[in-house]
C-alpha cells in the first residue's frame, strides 16, 4: 500500500496496516510465551549441558594450571636441544608448589597420558627435590633420573601447554600426536575404537535391513486386512512396543541361553548335536536378534501409516492394465511406500546406533557398541572428557541423520502408536 493512496483507518484512527501488524506481533508473542517455559527448561537442563560436554572434551587446562611458570619459560624454547636452566628453575618452582599442595600425583597421571614413564621419574624427583640446593637446577634435576635428561620428556611436557586439546577426539579414532607433533595411528592390535565405530555402524545398518525386511510384509498385511482382523494383529506389534525394554531383553536372555528354548528346538530338529549347543548369546548374534525384535515396531508403525493411505484400487488398476501382480506391486505400490520406508529406516537406524542396554546384556564382548564404551569411561575409568568426546562424535552422526529425517519426513509428521 503506497502512502499516496488514502489509507484505510480503523475506528480509533490508526491505519489498518499498523493495527494488523500490532495484533500479529501480539499473537506471535503470545504463542512464544506458551512455548517459552519448556524451551527455557530444555535449554538450561539439556542444551547447555551438551555444550558443557563439548567444553569438557577439549578441555586441557589442568596441566596448564599446574605448571604455569614452566610453560611461560618454555615459550622461547624451540624444542630441539634440552631446555635452558631458566626452564628447569621454573619447573622446580612449580613442582615444589605442587608437592606442597600434594598434587604431584595428579601431574604424573596427566603427563603419563602424554608419554609413558613419567610416573616413576616424578616420584623420584619428589624424593630428591627435598635435598635440592639453591641454583643450577638443570644439573640437579637431570641427575635424578636419566629420563629427565632426555629431551623427549621435555617435549612431552611442552605438548601439554595449550589449554585446549584435540587428543580425546584423536584417541576416539585410535590416533595420537607423536613426538614430532604428527598425527599417527596407534599400533594395529590396539585399534579398539575404530573396531567399535565400525561395528556400531554395521550392527545398526543390518538391524535396519532386517527390520525392514520383516516389517514390510506385516505392515502390508495390517494395512490390507479388514479392520476387525488387523486390530487384533496390531496388538502383536503394539504390546512389545509398550513393554519394558528390560523385560524384552530378559525374555531373549532366557530364549537364547545354551539350555534355552531356541537351542532345545535346534537340537530337537537335529540341526545341532546336544553336546555341541552353539553360543547364541553374549556375542554379536545376541545383539542382532534382540535388537531386531525390539526395534521392529518402530519400523512397522510408520510403514503401516503410509500403506494405510494407499488406495487398493491403484493395484487393481495396475493389474487391469496388464501388469502381473509383481509388476503392479513393484511399479505402483512400492514407490508409494517409499516415504514410509525412509521414515522407518531412519528411525530404526537412529535408535540402533545409540543402543546401550540390550548390547550390554546380551552382546558380550563382541556385540557391544560405542555407547557401551561411553558408559564404561563414564562409570569405570572416570575419563569424562573422553566419554564426552565420543558422545559428541556419535551425536554429530545422529544429528546428520535427524536433519535428513526432517528434510524427508518432517519432524511434525512423527506419529506415535
Amino acid at each position: 500500500m503506497s502512502s499516496e493512496n488514502k489509507q484505510i483507518l480503523t475506528t480509533d484512527g490508526i491505519p489498518l496496516e499498523v493495527s494488523l501488524k500490532k495484533a500479529e506481533r501480539k499473537n506471535k508473542i503470545k504463542a512464544f510465551l506458551l512455548v517459552a517455559p519448556l524451551l527455557l527448561f530444555l535449554i538450561i537442563t539439556y542444551v547447555f549441558p551438551i555444550g558443557d560436554m563439548l567444553l569438557r572434551s577439549v578441555d586441557d587446562k589442568m596441566v596448564t594450571q599446574m605448571l604455569p611458570k614452566t610453560f611461560k619459560a618454555m615459550e622461547k624454547w624451540d624444542g630441539q636441544e634440552l631446555p635452558e636452566e631458566e626452564v628447569f628453575a621454573a619447573f622446580h618452582q612449580d613442582f615444589i608448589k605442587l608437592v606442597e599442595e600434594k598434587r604431584e600425583g595428579k601431574l604424573s597421571t596427566q603427563l603419563n597420558y602424554t608419554k609413558n614413564g613419567f610416573k616413576s621419574i616424578i616420584k623420584k624427583l619428589r624424593r630428591a627435590s627435598k635435598k635440592f640446593e639453591e641454583g643450577n637446577y638443570k644439573e640437579q634435576i637431570m641427575s635424578v633420573h636419566k629420563r629427565w635428561a632426555d629431551v623427549e620428556y621435555w617435549r612431552a611436557i611442552k605438548r601439554r601447554a595449550p589449554e585446549v586439546t584435540s587428543q580425546k577426539y584423536l584417541k576416539a579414532m585410535d590416533m595420537y600426536t607423536n613426538e614430532e607433533g604428527k598425527i599417527v595411528s596407534v599400533d594395529e592390535d590396539r585399534r579398539i575404537h575404530r573396531i567399535l565405530w565400525l561395528r556400531t555402524l554395521e550392527i545398526a545398518f543390518f538391524v535396519t535391513v532386517f527390520c525392514f525386511l520383516m516389517a514390510y510384509p506385516i505392515a502390508h498385511l495390517l494395512a490390507t486386512l479388514p479392520m476387525k482382523y488387523s486390530n487384533l494383529l496390531m496388538i502383536c506389534v503394539l504390546l512389545p512396543f509398550w513393554t519394558s525394554l528390560l523385560v524384552r531383553t530378559a525374555s531373549w536372555m532366557i530364549l537364547l541361553q545354551q539350555q534355552g528354548i531356541v537351542n532345545d528346538f535346534f537340537v530337537g530338529i537335529g540341526l545341532v548335536a546336544d553336546d555341541n549347543r552353539p553360543e547364541m548369546m553374549y556375542n554379536k548374534t545376541g545383539s542382532y536378534v534382540a535388537m531386531t525384535q525390539i526395534l521392529l515396531p518402530f519400523m512397522v508403525l510408520p510403514l503401516y501409516s503410509v500403506m494405510k493411505t494407499i488406495s487398493p484400487s491403484l493395484m487393481r488398476a495396475g493389474k487391469s492394465l496388464g501388469g502381473t501382480p509383481f509388476i503392479a506391486f513393484w511399479k505402483v505400490y512400492f514407490p508409494l511406500t517409499i516415504p514410509g520406508i525412509g521414515a522407518g529406516c531412519l528411525l530404526v537406524f537412529i535408535l540402533a546406533i545409540g543402543y546401550y542396554i540390550t548390547p550390554a546384556l546380551v552382546g558380550g564382548a563382541s556385540g557391544t557398541l560405542i555407547s557401551n564404551q561411553i558408559a564404561f569411561h563414564m562409570k569405570s575409568t572416570l575419563d569424562w572428557s573422553f566419554a564426552s568426546a565420543m558422545g559428541l562424535m556419535l551425536l554429530t552422526g545422529v544429528l546428520v541423520i535427524y536433519w535428513l529425517y526432517n528434510k524427508i519426513v518432517g519432524i511434525d509428521n512423527i506419529k506415535l502408536g
Partner: protein
C-alpha cells in the same frame, strides 16, 4: 484376504508363502513375551522348563517367586516400586504441564521459528539416551541434584516432554479454532476458554501423551543409572542389576507384573486413540 477363484496356481503359492512369512514375523514379535509368563511360576530355580512343567504337573508350578518378590528378605523390589511410581507420577505431571502448554503455542499459526523450536523440543527423543544421560548427569552434578528424586524427576521430564508435545500437537492439528473464537465472542476469557472448551477436546491427546511420558519414565534405565544413588533405586535399575549378575526367577515374576501393566496401558492408549479420532471426525 481370500483369493479370487480365478487366481493362478503359482500366485496362490506365493500368497501362502507371504502369509507364512507374516505369521512367522508376528510370532517372532510376540512369542518372546510369552516365555516369561510360565517360567515365572516355575517351582525350581532354573530358568528352563523342567520336565514336570512339560508334563503340566501341578507340583512343578508355584508362586514362590511372587512371594519372594513381595516378602523376600532384604528385598529391593518394594523400595524400587515405590520410587518408580513416585518418580514416574511426578515426571508425568511435569511433562504434561510443560508439554501441553508448549504444544498450544506451537500449534498457533503465529508461532515464529516453528521448525527450529520443534526440533529443539523433540531432540531428547532423538539424541541417543547415553548422550542425554551424560549431559543430564553433568547438569545435575553441578546443580547438586545427583542422587536425588528431584534430579531424576527433572531428567524424566526432559525425556518425557517430546512425547506429550507430539501427541498434543497431533490432536490440535485437527482442532477447529472457531469454537474458541465463539467462546471468546461470548465473553469468555482465555483461561476459561482453555479449561472449558479446548482442554476437554484435546484431553485424549493429553492423556495419551501422559501415558507415553509415564512409560518412558517407568522404563527408563540409562539416565537413572548415571543419576541414582542407593536410595533412588527404581524397578528398571533393579532389573538391570539382576540381569547383569544373575537371572533369577524373581525377576521373571517382576517382568510378568510389568507385562500386565503394559497391557493395561496399551488398552487405555488404544481406547483413547479411537475416542480421539471419533471426536475429531476421522474415520479410518
Amino acid at each position: 484376504m481370500a483369493l479370487p477363484k480365478y487366481t493362478e496356481p503359482h500366485y496362490r503359492i506365493w500368497h501362502y508363502i507371504y502369509l507364512t512369512i507374516c505369521g512367522a514375523v508376528f510370532f517372532f514379535l510376540i512369542a518372546p513375551l510369552f516365555v516369561i509368563f510360565p517360567l515365572s511360576f516355575n517351582a525350581e530355580e532354573f530358568l528352563v522348563f523342567s520336565d514336570g512343567m512339560k508334563r503340566l504337573d501341578p507340583d512343578a508350578f508355584s508362586l514362590r517367586w511372587y512371594e519372594d518378590m513381595i516378602y523376600g528378605t532384604k528385598n529391593p523390589w518394594g523400595l524400587a516400586a515405590k520410587n518408580s511410581f513416585i518418580i514416574a507420577i511426578f515426571a508425568t505431571i511435569g511433562s504434561v504441564l510443560l508439554g501441553t502448554v508448549a504444544a498450544l503455542g506451537l500449534s498457533s499459526r503465529h508461532m515464529p521459528y516453528k521448525g527450529l523450536i520443534m526440533a529443539v523440543l523433540i531432540s531428547p527423543m532423538i539424541v541417543p539416551l547415553i548422550i542425554s544421560g551424560v549431559a543430564i548427569f553433568f547438569f545435575m552434578a553441578k546443580a547438586g541434584l545427583a542422587a536425588t528424586h528431584t534430579g531424576i524427576v527433572l531428567a524424566h521430564i526432559i525425556l518425557g516432554t517430546p512425547f506429550v508435545v507430539i501427541t498434543v500437537t497431533a490432536t490440535l492439528s485437527g482442532f477447529d479454532h472457531s469454537v474458541t473464537r465463539a467462546a471468546a465472542s461470548l465473553g469468555s476469557d482465555p483461561v476459561n476458554t482453555f479449561m472449558k472448551i479446548t482442554l476437554p477436546l484435546i484431553l485424549p491427546g493429553v492423556i495419551s501423551g501422559g501415558l507415553f511420558a509415564f512409560v518412558t519414565s517407568f522404563d527408563e534405565v540409562v539416565v537413572v543409572l548415571f543419576l541414582a544413588g542407593l536410595e533412588n533405586t527404581t524397578i528398571p535399575i533393579q532389573m538391570w542389576t539382576g540381569l547383569r549378575e544373575q537371572l533369577s526367577p524373581t525377576i521373571l515374576a517382576v517382568a510378568t507384573c510389568l507385562i500386565i501393566l503394559s497391557t493395561l496401558i496399551l488398552v487405555t492408549a488404544e481406547l483413547l486413540r479411537r475416542r480421539s479420532e471419533r471426536l475429531r471426525g476421522i474415520n479410518r
